[in-house]
Structures are given as C-alpha cells and as structure tokens.
C-alpha cells in the first residue's frame, strides 16, 4: 500500500484557522490500512481540530466523509452535494487523492492532512516498511524477490557495499542490508552463481528520470 502519517496537529490547525466550515475527506484504501486517513482517523481528526480551535474561541464546522478512494474521478464527484458552503477541503488521502480533489474543486483551497511516505507492506501489525519505489522496470526476478532500489540505502545493484555488518546496513542497526537478504535468498534457491552476473547501469527514464509518468491503455481509453 501507499503509506502515510498524519501531519502534526499544529500544522493542520494553521491550515484551517481562517475557515468556518471545512470538509474533511478520508479514503477507504491505503491510508485506512496504515491507520492514517480512514473513516476512524477522519473522526479523530475532526474532533481534535474542533476542540483545539474551540480553545481559542473559534467555532469551526467540520463535515466528515470517507470516499472509497480518492484517485478516481467518479468518487471525487460524490463530494459535490457536500460542498455547499464549504470554504476549504482537507484530504486525509495520499498525495494522489489530494491532487484529484484540488483538480475537481478548483475554487476551494485543498490541504493535505497526511504526509505521504512510501509504497510498502506490513511487517507486522502497526509496522510498515518500504518495499517499492516504482522504478518502472522491475528486477525482482533476478534479486531473489528483494528490491535493491527500494531497500538498499545506496540502491546498489551490485551490492553489498563494504559497510554491511551482521546483516545490517551501515546507517543503522534497524535497517536490514538488502544485499544480505538477497544473498540469503539466492542461497536458499541454490542460485549463488547468479550473484556473479553484473547488473548493468540502470536506465532511470522508466523511474521518472524522463519526466512525470503516464500509462495509457488503448483498449480502455476512449
């Protein structure tokens, strides 16, 4: 999923301070799974913001709604009836959702309630780590299913570097050395000799080096 974390409350208070009525929109997908911007978090944030502003004598009406997701225009359209009198919108979705709301409702400022972090998976309940950086040319088939671009701190494609110690990255004991993981996997699969293959320099165009990326499916797009 795309992971995110709620921004510090003081930053959000500053966003909404000038307004009397705002719409707070959550998303039922990724940010729900990482407990950052789902229906519950919308309720928590609305309550917290109201109470924080009330202490300064400021009454704010916060309408709450959670969409199935915010990255498809059909869902964003559902907000239209709720927009009456709304002065600003705050979205708890990832950066994609915030931008889609801003695109559709051009006459109202839209604020992000979360900091979008990374594409990742759950290690265990309550812990998520980075797995993929969307490089556009997946090489997981030759690295034993571990991504060196997302999980090696130096994104080495022919690692490990000389700082790998007892399976941990030189920057911190909390970070696994991705190349140790890759090596362990290759061993388990009996593919040690594959390690000797040099992975050549990457073409970063597919990773965004060629500009913002787009996919068009001719069979689906009219």
């Amino acid at each position: 999923m795309i992971t995110a974390e709620r921004k510090p409350l003081e930053e959000l208070i500053e966003f909404v301070r000038p307004f009397k009525r705002i719409l707070l929109v959550g998303c039922n997908e990724c940010v729900t799974v990482c407990a950052a911007g789902g229906r519950k978090e919308v309720g928590l944030l609305a309550s917290g913001l109201k109470m924080a502003l009330l202490q300064n004598g400021q009454d704010i009406e916060i309408r709450e709604h959670t969409l199935e997701r915010q990255c498809d225009p059909e869902y964003i359209d559902e907000l239209l009836p709720m927009m009456d009198g709304v002065e600003a919108v705050m979205s708890m979705a990832c950066g994609c959702g915030v931008q889609e709301i801003a695109r559709r409702y051009k006459d109202r400022p839209v604020f992000p309630a979360v900091n979008t972090k990374f594409m990742g998976a759950s290690e265990r309940q309550g812990e998520w780590s980075e797995r993929c950086q969307g490089c556009g040319n997946c090489l997981l088939g030759i690295t034993g299913g571990i991504c060196p671009i997302a999980r090696c701190s130096k994104r080495l494609m022919n690692g490990p570097c000389g700082g790998s110690v007892t399976g941990k990255c030189e920057i911190s004991r909390d970070v696994d050395c991705a190349w140790q993981l890759i090596w362990d996997r290759l061993k388990a699969l009996g593919l040690e000799e594959q390690y000797l293959n040099i992975i050549p320099a990457k073409d970063w165009r597919s990773a965004g080096g060629g500009g913002p990326r787009k996919i068009i499916r001719e069979d689906l797009a009219e």
Binding site: S153, E170, L196
Partner: protein
C-alpha cells in the same frame, strides 16, 4: 601496459607497490594539500585523494589531485557514486585525465547519514561496479556510457576497493571477482588488523585465480592511541580490530602509544609481504601523513623503484 600510470609501471615490473592517502581540507586551503603531499613525495608510488570522505564536504578530489600533480606527485583520484550522476562523473574523468591524472579508484561512498549533510540526496545513478565498467569502456573502447564516441579517451588505471572484513564474509571473494570482471586493474583493501581473516579471504582469492587478474594492495593503518583503536573496533562499520591489538595499545603509557601503533603497523606489513597474491600495501595514515616515510623505511620498502 594499459596506461601511463606510475603505479601500473611499478606493479607491472614486479615491484611491491606502496600507496598512501591524502584527505583534502574542509575549505579552500591549497597549502594544506601541498603540506601533506610534501610528506609523501618520493615515498609512495601513488597518493589516494579521497572524495568527500565520510560524506563530509571537502575540497574536491579532482582539485586536490591537480594540486598534488603540480607538486610532482602521482595522485590516485577517488570517485564515489554518491554525489554525482554519470554525466558529471564522465566529465570529471575526462577533465582529470586532461590535467594529467591517470589513476583512479571507483567507490560507492559512505552514506550521507554519516556526514555533515544528511539532508542531501544520495545520487547513486550508478554503483561502484557499474562505474568500473564505465571507465573501462571509456578507456578501452573509447565510448561514453551512453554509446557515443569519445574524442581523446582517458587512459585511466582503474582501481576498486575491497573489504574482506565486511559481511557476509562468504560473499566477499565473489564481490572481488565481480569487480575484476567489470574491469578493475587493481584493488585496495580496507585496513587490515585481523591477519587470519585476511589470509582466509586471500585463500578464496587465489582459488579463483583473482590475484593473477588484478593487483591486490593490502590496506594498513597505524593506530595513534588506544582511543583510536577502540573507535575503529567499535564505531566503524566493516572494520575488524582484534581485541589483543587494542589491549596492546592500552598496555603502554599514553606517550608511547603512537610508537606502539607504528610498531604494530610494521609487523602487519611484514606479514602481508609474505602472503602470496599481495602485490603491495596501501598506507592510510589519516592526519598522520608525516609517519608514512618512517613506516615505508622500516618496512624495507624505501627508496621506491624508479620506473
């Protein structure tokens, strides 16, 4: 002979090579570079010039290399992949060669987290092995990484780093094989204190015949104090300092510790000279360049051969 490099000439003629290191200053202080160079002139076959070492900004290795070259030394340009993309690196390589630098070392570089700019991006457009490949292609095929021809290809003697003490140990010989396959002409290792472990690595190296495909220079560092010994043992990832050596440093009074550190260094060099496949040594005397001459002399490696 692939290049005009002094280091290549020394190694190719069968001599035991000696290289050392010079860390550029953290400011526009060219005299500091010349001062260090002075200690090393005539004492070593090449001087490594580090590249933003430990991710702390310093005078560029290219600039410092040029200063040393002007003073008659043979600089060994270190280049890390952390700070530049492939365009900038190729530009610097052509530029360096144009200024008379013909020997270089290809490295990944310490992570920015260690340095004074942890907020900077880690570039790593290519990694150290891809860099080796790139320089070899520039030299031997006269082509840029993107495929176009180079007018005036740089004839660089290509080096890489090896760390027999990092994990996983079983991979470290294969990693050397990869670097050699990519085009490395010589290797400098991380400084050696644990000779047994180094010998084990060398066994693996010889088993694959790697010592014949590439010149291996063993790294050594004289310890200045027991504090330095402990720091290297505990705080530097990928360094292996046996406890007995730390104890030995601690067993002598403070004023005698530098001398003991040099003694240990020389003992290590003597043992390294006897290991089959070791073609030379690389002395890393950080902020202690004035000691290098004494070490080279006492190790019986002075004067340097005139090639």
């Amino acid at each position: 002979m692939k290049t005009e490099s002094t280091l290549e000439k020394v190694l190719a003629s069968g001599n035991f090579a000696v290289t050392s290191e010079c860390g550029p200053p953290r400011g526009a202080l060219p005299d500091k570079v010349r001062e260090k160079g002075n200690y090393l002139k005539g004492v070593v076959d090449a001087v490594n010039v580090t590249d933003n070492q430990t991710a702390m900004v310093r005078m560029s290795s290219l600039a410092a290399s040029v200063l040393l070259k002007q003073d008659g030394l043979d600089p060994l340009l270190q280049m890390v992949t952390r700070d530049r993309n492939r365009l900038a690196m190729q530009a610097d390589i052509i530029g360096a060669y144009s200024l008379g630098i013909n020997t270089m070392l290809c490295l990944s570089g310490d992570h920015t987290q260690f340095g004074d700019h942890p907020m900077a991006a880690n570039v790593h457009d290519i990694d150290s092995i891809q860099l080796i490949q790139m320089v070899k292609t520039m030299r031997d095929e006269g082509k840029f990484q993107g495929g176009a021809d180079i007018k005036g290809p740089p004839k660089m003697f290509i080096g890489a780093a090896a760390n027999p003490f990092a994990d996983p140990f079983e991979l470290r010989v294969m990693r050397l094989a990869k670097k050699i396959a990519a085009g490395a002409d010589f290797i400098q290792t991380q400084c050696i204190f644990n000779i047994e472990k180094f010998e084990k690595w060398m066994e693996g190296v010889r088993a694959r015949g790697l010592h014949r495909k590439c010149y291996i220079l063993a790294g050594v560092t004289p310890m200045k104090s027991v504090g330095a010994a402990r720091y290297m043992k505990n705080k530097v990832p990928g360094m292996d300092v046996p406890a007995e050596l730390v104890e030995r440093m601690g067993a002598v009074p403070k004023e005698k510790q530098p001398e003991e550190g040099v003694n240990i260094c020389i003992e290590i060099i003597e043992r390294l000279k006897k290991i089959e496949g070791v073609a030379g040594i690389h002395i890393m005397a950080i902020d202690w360049e004035e000691k290098v001459k004494e070490i080279v002399e006492r190790a019986g490696l002075f004067p340097r051969p005139q090639v």
